[in-house]
Amino acid sequence: MKWHYALGALGVLFLGTGHAWGLFFAPPEFMMGDVGRILYAHVPTAWNAMLVYLFAFVAAIGTLWTSKSSWESWLVGFVEVGVVLNILLCFQGAMWAKPTWGVYWDWDPRLTTTAILIALFAGVLIQRNLFHAPDKRRIITGVTAVIAFVNVPIVYFATTWWNSLHQGLSSPDTVSNPMHWPLRVSAFGVLFLAVAFSAERAKQERARLEREDTAPTLPLAQKQLELGAE
């Protein structure tokens, strides 16, 4: 069952192709010039971070519903990879904001929401590490992940009304033709890598849970005591 290694390799291939395409072959963005090339790294990260959080939400529901350790390990994998992508996303955004907006950070809804997401989902992992009883830990992880995800749209609404600067969500349909393909290819690259990483992390978590959870064989039944006659 090493399908995720193949997927990871495919991800590297796609991401490399997409990035090289975007860096060297795609035309410079017509307003921002070469800085616009950050698009091919930034936007796929953004899409996939959200997608991975969505997967985590599904896994959290599955965890609470079934109490199965396989759901739980996928949940841990997705949350962890989601947080990594999320942090990367904020860095990329800052690097793009500086040359285009003149500042690294702006109190824009998309940025603020994204930053809050790090806190929410990192909280899931931190909280998980504070519990040692397996059942308790599983429920805590599932519940906090569900709550964190449910909060995403609300945070988004709130921060949008609060202030607004970031552009609308990009999709392949909102970019000009020569930019389509590098963007698409990079996006699939990140997706494949993210799923492969989550799968590997989930595999490790499952191994850990099983090791913890290996039902030790019941102790051999001991002989009943004989008291003998008084």
Partner: protein, 230 residues
């Protein structure tokens, strides 16, 4: 709903509970007929408290089946809980409420009407408005007995009744256990005070490393203990 005369109040089959890699209870079979006083004896960590907590539905068994009043506790926990009472090693009371208020809140939640003051008097406590925080350890213990009595359980599970009591308290517990059986309550007691408790109980089981190593008339449990720890 009423158990027939033949069906036991507690019917446990291969009841097992595990904490991580350790089996605190291993395949305990137990049948307690209505009105019996059962004594559970064992060294520290032998599984007494785990057994009582599992029987009380405070925690679930990892393996095995448990029927109380003829009902499966996994499906009928609410009905079972309405009819049993647990006196655990924690007093299960609110320290900032007075004795009467404590009894009243628990009884109201159970839907039991009527004054609670008589129960306080029965365990030898004055009806005072002071919060329980001002009580001594022994008084707190008496209060938890009052709470148990006020709930009018049909099955009383009592963990270490003699703990934190003075000699006068010992005698009070003895009468109380006697009264409970006189009222037709099935009583399961776990205690270290083997010499006291064995005179009050009909039958005893000896737990060792989560297993029932001996069962027989309560009066013989001292000898069984000696054989086990010889």
């Amino acid at each position: 709903m009423t158990p027939s005369a033949t069906s036991p109040v507690v019917h446990a089959q291969k009841l097992s509970r595990r904490y991580g890699a350790r089996w605190a209870l291993a395949e305990v079979d137990l049948e307690v007929p209505a009105g019996e006083r059962l004594l559970i004896v064992g060294a520290n960590g032998s599984g007494k408290t785990t057994l009582l907590r599992t029987l009380s539905t405070a925690q679930s068994a990892s393996l095995g089946s448990l029927h109380i009043f003829g009902m499966d506790v996994r499906t009928h926990a609410v009905q079972v809980r309405a009819r049993l009472g647990l006196l655990s090693h924690l007093p299960q009371i609110y320290r900032d409420l007075s004795g009467v208020e404590n009894l009243r809140i628990f009884n109201r939640l159970l839907g039991i009407q009527g004054p609670v003051e008589p129960y306080l008097e029965r365990v030898g406590l004055e009806v005072r408005p002071d919060p329980v925080r001002t009580y001594s350890a022994g008084m707190t213990k008496r209060l938890s007995f009052a709470r148990l009595l006020a709930q009018k359980p049909e099955l009383a599970l009592i963990d270490e009744p003699y703990g934190q009591l003075d000699p006068a308290g010992f005698a009070f517990v003895d009468t109380l256990l006697q009264d409970l059986t006189d009222e037709g309550v099935t009583v399961i007691v776990a205690s270290h005070q083997v010499d006291r408790a064995r005179h009050l109980c009909d039958r005893a089981i000896l737990l060792h490393q989560g297993q029932v190593r001996w069962q027989g008339p309560a009066i013989d449990v001292g000898r069984a203990w000696d054989v086990l720890h010889a």
